[in-house]
């Protein structure tokens, strides 16, 4: 038994916490071993007697003279008690018997009366351990509280950690149901213990303790029935802290000011019995006016909101205070300037309206809500007539009325009526605008309420069935139409925009019929009139003369958006719009229109496409009519059929400009497809659409049985023959693709066989782009089953038509081939690559090449690029030996060899040949086709060949790596990630050694050509590709500049490599200026020489090249001072400043701008 004494001594002497807890565990073990016999527990408790006895004397002494002589003993005593507490913590909680617990509680409880200096921390801890014991009885809990409360004034002298122990003890006790019952029994509603605890803790300042204190107080309110007096005491205890702040501290404690604010807020909102205290208190704080900061104001408002939302029994807790809250809060909005406060205030007002309406499960009496809204309406009515307060008053009213469906159905009529009356006599244009804005916001909120009608109480939905709608429907004739037509000074563009928005909101309002069916709120006639008004705004542009300024682009754009939403629900409106626009367009003669008229046409067609096709229409019945046939694609079909009718607007265009009208019609179709595709992507997941982008049927076969007018037939159909598609079925997308493919087929056939006149290059290009969009959206199987690869060449006829037809137009018809090929997936093109198949024949076709324009050569070349790129040979393909591409490439290799080795081929014709060759190679390079490598020596040889054709090859070889918009992953092209690096390594790298001048005249010529070729490639590559060859490249660049910058030495400043060299130098300068450091002198001299040469040259034909050269040189010179230290530049500063001074008088304004900036940069050098 003497063990305990030893341990106690060891514990007291030790300073190490781990050692202490080890000792405590030993003691606990010893007690457990004796099954907590009275003897062992007794001697354990007695083991600390030496220190306790001293305590008594100590205390007596200190009462007499308050010295610190006993402080050492206090520490020892505290430790001795700690030994007991720690042992209890380590002890098995079920071991101690109830009477032992009572005795121990008595002992530790006594400490709170006697030993305020040393005993509290350990005792509080020990009590918490005893509370957790199995032998704990509720009555003991009551005693614990009473004991602790005896601490009284000395509580605040305890350390924060000690107080924390006590708070935790209290919290455990008052949350314990059995202790609660015991307390209620003993104290009843007078709840003396609560008053005691509050008195004990009322001056708490430590944030961590406060968090517990604010947890404790609400429990008193919610778990105990307290008298009014006690409730008030509790309220005072937490409201004293409001508004709470937290001083920032150097040592973070893990509690923020927001945590404290939330905790206090939770106290306020914990129980409705404090409502009569809380609301006046909070409102009182708020009414202090300017004395409080924004953040305090926000805290108050949030607290009010929490109270409103969380108090039970709102009839008793909230209703009595509503008018007081309103009277205080309205000024926050009416005269408020801070957005955050205004928003928070509106939140409170909304919370009140929602609370008075009831819950999802149960609605309260309507009078509660009605009385509240009446107060609001009465107060705001007059303000609406005052332009200064219209916005604010409207905001208040609208917020309250649109909070929930019942509020809206109750009071919207009154609200709308007030606005309507004010709109009749507006005080200023901005007053009209504000009022309209309010009206529009109300309508918008109504639409939102309707959309979310199922989320609230089930009665809400019923309200929509019976609501009165007349006041809303009448808005058109009473408000919007008069405002629109009045030509008074109040109708500014801003006002008109509001009217247009309002019209759209009105015409799209939905409601419930008594049978539960959704229908439009406005009648057919109102919808029709709204549409007519908006349509007129858009179509009048066509009829106006150039000098008429009555059209307002902003209003028109608003009308476009308005119609977009209106025709999505009132679907008849779109047909009306398209028909009216069509009539207007057909009225005009489009053979030689003015630019102004063409712009008007472009606008109206582009808008038609956007309005009808950028949203999938919704199937909503009109209020007074039975449901009719609905097709989600009806707008798209309507537009497509009408465009089909309109084309060609100008049947015999004689110039590109005259064919613009025709191309705009095609653009409208293309735009409609782009918009509709977007609409589908917005509504459905991309993965879903992918699954719907194919079909197991061959659409083209189905089209064969259809007449040209199929689209018109589709329009007129009542839907009985077709499968009816709902608007939320992804099948819409498949049907859209099917109709689009039909349109492509129709256009292609027209282009190939119809009258040739309207089909100019521009129109071909438009159709090709449209086809590309449709084709690339189809999945691989469908592309295959429709045999689109073949159809690209025979334009959806059964025979190949690609090379027939009048020769003047036919060449550009190749654009159509390109249109389809560019969108095809490689696998769908496999068939083309059979040996001697279509692809090979096309790529190796040189017939008529001598007579075609370069532009046609480009198109031809691009087709070859696509064909070469999407090629795939090998087993189980149509080209099992992988020979096709090899043959094509070697064919062009031979052509190149012949053309450059002999002088038989005219350079003009060779240019076309070369274009096709380069494109074909570029397509193969992107795929990193190894066959290309066999052409490397041939190309290198061709470049160095003495004839002019070699120069063409050298100049254009960069085309191999030039970014081609058609070779992208969107177009399913095969583009390897590092193909530019690959091509550069094989084509440019070997040339560096050969390109350096050796002084020998024979090699000098070839070296010049090689330089051109390298520059051509480099200028089309990103910097990283040629980074490692910088030293050699920089030498080449300087040589190229020097050789060409002086006319006297036979150089030509207009050579393309001058511009290219400058571009590459600027690029290097921005990425790695260090590489140029050693060559600064050469670069600056060459740059200055180049500029002077270009400025001297007055050749008008080359003006553009010269100006570009001057600008690039200046850009290079401008960048230099920023990249190098001053000491490197000083020698050149003076001559450079002189030159730049001259350059700031350059002929071209663009060049002058750069010169000025360069001059500023260089001015700093000598400074």
């Amino acid at each position: 038994m003497s063990n305990f004494k030893d341990w106690a001594l060891q514990y007291v002497l030790s300073d190490d916490e781990t050692a202490q807890s080890e000792i405590a565990k030993k003691a606990a073990k010893e007690i457990e071993n004796t099954r907590a016999s009275s003897a062992s527990v007794g001697s354990w408790a007695a083991s600390i007697q030496p220190w306790i006895t001293i305590t008594k004397q100590d205390d007596d002494n200190s009462d007499d003279d308050d010295d610190d002589s006993g402080s050492g003993d206090i520490i020892a005593r505290a430790k001795a008690l700690g030994f007991l507490a720690d042992t209890l913590e380590a002890l098995d909680k079920s071991l101690l018997r109830p009477e032992q617990v009572i005795r121990l509680v008595g002992f530790f409880g006594a400490m709170f009366s006697y030993d305020h200096k040393a005993g509290i921390t350990a005792s509080a801890k020990a009590l918490r351990q005893l509370y957790a014991m199995k032998g704990f009885k509720p009555a003991v809990g009551v005693k614990m509280i009473e004991d602790v409360c005896k601490l009284k004034e000395d509580f605040k002298l305890q350390t924060a950690a000690t107080r924390l122990e006590i708070y935790e003890l209290f919290l455990s006790l008052v949350q314990d149901q059995s202790v609660t019952n015991e307390l209620q029994d003993k104290y009843g509603t007078s709840s003396g213990f609560i008053v005691d605890i509050i008195q004990l803790c009322q001056n708490e300042r430590d944030p961590r303790n406060l968090m517990l204190w604010f947890k404790l107080l609400p429990i008193f309110l919610t778990e105990y029935s307290t008298s009014d007096q006690v409730t008030e005491e509790i309220f005072k205890a937490f409201s004293a802290y409001f508004p709470i702040t937290l001083r920032s501290s150097a040592t973070p404690i893990g509690i923020t000011a927001d945590d404290l604010k939330n905790a206090v807020r939770a106290c306020f909102a914990s129980h409705y019995k404090v409502a009569k205290l809380a609301f006046p208190f909070l409102i009182g704080k708020l009414d202090q006016g300017d004395a409080i900061t924004v953040s305090v104001k926000l805290d108050i408002l949030k607290t009010v909101k929490a109270c409103v939302e969380q108090y039970d029994n709102p009839q008793a807790s909230v209703v009595p205070h509503v008018s007081k809250i309103w009277n205080s809060l309205k000024y926050e909005v009416r005269n408020g300037e801070v957005k955050d406060t205004i928003d928070a205030t509106l939140e409170v007002l909304r919370a009140i309206a929602n609370r008075l309406d009831g819950t999802k499960a149960q609605k309260f009496s309507v009078s509660l809500l009605k009385n509240y809204i009446d107060i609001v309406v009465d107060d705001c009515r007059d303000d609406l007539a005052n332009p200064t307060y219209t916005k604010q008053a409207g905001l208040l009213l609208m917020t309250v009325i649109t909070t929930n469906i019942r509020a809206f159905t109750l009071e919207s009529a009154a609200f709308v009526d007030i606005i309507r009356k004010n709109l009749r006599q507006p005080k200023s244009p901005s007053h009209t605008k504000d009022l309209l804005l309010l009206l529009n916001s109300t309508l918008k909120s109504r639409a939102d309420l309707f959309k979310n009608r199922k989320q609230g109480n089930s009665e809400d939905e019923e309200l929509f069935k019976t609501e009165s709608k007349d006041h809303l429907v009448a808005l058109y004739h009473d408000v919007y139409l008069p405002t629109w037509t009045s030509k008074s000074e109040e109708t500014t563009s801003e006002v008109l925009k509001q009217v247009v928005q309002g019209l759209a909101l009105l015409a799209t309002q939905q409601t419930l019929r008594p049978d539960g069916q959704i229908s439009l709120l406005a009648s057919r006639s109102v919808c029709f009139e709204v549409c007519s008004l908006l349509i007129h705004t858009l179509t009048k542009g066509l009829a106006l003369s150039q000098n008429d300024n009555s059209s307002d682009a902003a209003v028109e754009d608003e009308a476009v958006l308005a119609l977009q939403s209106v025709v999505a629900t009132y679907t008849d409106g779109y047909a009306e719009l398209v028909d009216r626009a069509k009539v207007e367009i057909e009225k005009r003669d489009w053979t030689s229109p003015s630019k102004y008229t063409l712009n008007a046409l472009q606008d109206i067609l582009s808008r038609l496409a956007f309005i009808g096709c950028s949203r999938i229409p919704l199937n909503i019945a009109l209020d007074d009519e039975p449901p009719k046939v609905f097709k989600p694609l009806q707008h798209f079909i309507k537009l497509a059929a009408s465009m089909q009718d309109l084309f060609p607007l100008s049947p015999l265009p004689t110039s590109e400009k005259e064919s613009l009208a025709n191309s705009y019609v095609i653009s409208a179709l293309h735009g409609a497809m782009l918009h509709f595709r977007d609409a589908c992507f917005e509504k459905f997941e991309p993965k879903v659409l992918e699954a719907y982008s194919g079909s197991d049927r061959n659409w083209l076969e189905e089209f064969q049985g259809l007449s040209k007018n199929w689209l018109h037939q589709l329009q007129g159909e009542d839907g009985s023959s077709e499968v009816v598609i709902k608007e939320d079925d992804p099948e819409v997308y498949r049907e859209f693709l099917r109709i689009s493919l039909f349109i492509v087929r129709h256009l292609y056939r027209e282009a190939a066989h119809g009258k040739q006149a309207p089909w100019t290059e521009r129109v071909f290009a438009q159709v090709a782009n449209l086809a590309a969009l449709v084709v690339r959206s189809l999945d691989e199987n469908l592309q295959k089953s429709c045999n689109l690869a073949q159809n690209a060449f025979n334009f959806f006829f059964s025979e190949d038509l690609s090379s027939s037809g009048p020769s003047s137009v036919a060449p550009f018809r190749k654009l159509l081939i390109l249109g389809i090929l560019q969108g095809l997936r490689p696998a769908a093109m496999a068939e083309l690559y059979a040996p001697q198949g279509i692809a090979e024949t096309f790529m190796c076709d040189t017939s008529r090449m001598a007579t075609v324009l370069l532009a046609v050569g480009e198109i031809r070349g691009t087709i070859c690029a696509v064909l070469a790129n999407k090629y795939k040979g090998g087993q189980s393909t149509f080209d099992p030996e992988s020979e096709t591409m090899k043959r094509v490439l070697s064919f062009w290799g031979e052509q190149l060899k012949t053309a450059t080795n002999t002088d038989d081929t005219d350079p003009a014709i060779f240019e076309v040949y070369n274009t096709v060759t380069m494109h074909t190679l570029a397509g193969a390079c992107a795929r990193q086709d190894k066959n290309v490598l066999s052409l490397v020596p041939i190309l290198h040889e061709a470049i160095a060949s003495p004839g002019p054709n070699g120069a063409i090859v050298a100049r254009t070889i960069g085309g191999l790596v030039k970014t081609n918009e058609l070779l992208t992953s969107e177009n399913h092209a095969v583009v390897k990630r590092f193909y530019k690096q690959w091509t550069y390594t094989h084509f440019a790298k070997p040339l560096y050694d050969l390109a350096l001048p050796t002084g020998d005249e024979d090699t000098a010529f070839a070296a010049g050509r090689y330089t051109t070729a390298i520059l051509s490639l480099v200028s089309n590559c990103p910097f990283e590709v040629y980074q490692e060859d910088l030293p050699a490249l920089v030498r080449l660049l300087i040589t190229a500049l020097n050789n060409n910058s002086s006319a006297s030495s036979g150089g030509d400043i207009t050579q393309p490599q001058v511009a290219t060299s400058l571009e590459v130098l600027v690029e290097i300068l921005s990425h790695e200026p260090e590489a140029l450091k050693e060559h600064l002198k050469a670069i600056i001299t060459a740059g200055m020489k180049t500029y002077e040469e270009a400025a001297k040259n007055t050749n008008k034909v080359l003006a553009r090249n010269l100006a570009a050269a001057r600008k690039l040189t200046l850009q290079l010179l401008r960048a230099i001072p920023k990249k190098f230290e001053e000491r490197h530049l000083l020698p050149y500063a003076l001559p450079m400043q002189r030159m730049l001074a001259m350059a700031s008088g350059d002929k071209s304004r663009e060049a002058r701008k750069v010169a000025l900036l360069a001059r500023e940069n260089w001015a700093k050098v000598s400074a």
Binding site: N599, F610, G671, L674, N769, E858, L966, G1145, R1149
Partner: protein
């Protein structure tokens, strides 16, 4: 400087959009909600394929003006250019403007000389006029008349000096620069004009570090 020390504590300030500017002839610009795909539907070049030949004229229609073509247009320096605030064609991001005078800051207020109408487009004169000047190397006189906001403005010389420095730094050497106070706009315009016209005095003024600092500060805003 305290507010009461200012020569003119409350000058009339124009907003930037009110200043005269060069409106370049623009094509039909569409900005409505339907213009999202205009780059695809109405491309500048009717065929967007990649061309080996860097000659855009093959693919653009005759009336569409290309950016490159404006580069080649010969436009001599005119009054508007000296005044500043050119509207650059939309989409042009590089060095959009060449502002010579209008964006110089006022030494007293955080506004530009253009905004308080000290520098006015109408008061900049070139002789011979840009239209007559066929050879860019012709000797040309630039006369700039300044209008101080109040007629006792003590900073008139400083402003005049800044304008002069700016023009000397920005114009080619064949431009002779004359900066004056507009007739009757300043109580001591003769003296100020004399000071600004005297090369020696201008050079001496620029030796003064304080003055040089003020002028550099004024010119910071014009790039």
């Amino acid at each position: 400087m305290a507010k009461s020390d200012l020569d003119n504590a409350n000058p009339t300030v124009l907003s930037v959009s009110q200043l005269p500017s060069r409106n370049l002839a623009k094509g039909h610009e569409r900005r409505g909600p339907d213009s999202k795909y205009d780059h695809i539907l109405f491309p500048k070049q009717w065929w967007a394929g990649s061309s080996l030949n860097n000659d855009p004229s093959v693919w653009t229609s005759d009336e569409d003006e290309d950016d490159d073509l404006t580069l080649a247009t010969e436009e001599p320096i005119d009054e508007q250019e000296i005044y500043g605030k050119n509207y650059a064609p939309s989409g042009c991001t590089c060095m959009a403007r060449r502002n010579l005078l209008s964006t110089i800051s006022d030494p007293e207020h955080p506004v530009t000389l253009g905004q308080i109408a000290v520098v006015r487009l109408d008061d900049i004169h070139l002789s011979p006029s840009p239209a007559e000047r066929l050879d860019p190397n012709t000797l040309t006189n630039v006369e700039v008349d300044l209008t101080p906001t109040v007629n006792h403005c003590s900073l008139a010389t400083v402003i005049g000096l800044a304008v002069r420095v700016r023009l000397e730094n920005a114009l080619p050497p064949n431009y002779r620069i004359i900066v004056r106070m507009k007739d009757g706009s300043h109580a001591q315009d003769d003296q100020v004009n004399k000071q600004l016209g005297d090369k020696e005095r201008v050079a001496a003024a620029l030796e003064n570090d304080t003055l040089k600092g003020i002028i550099e500060k004024m010119l910071e805003t014009c790039v």
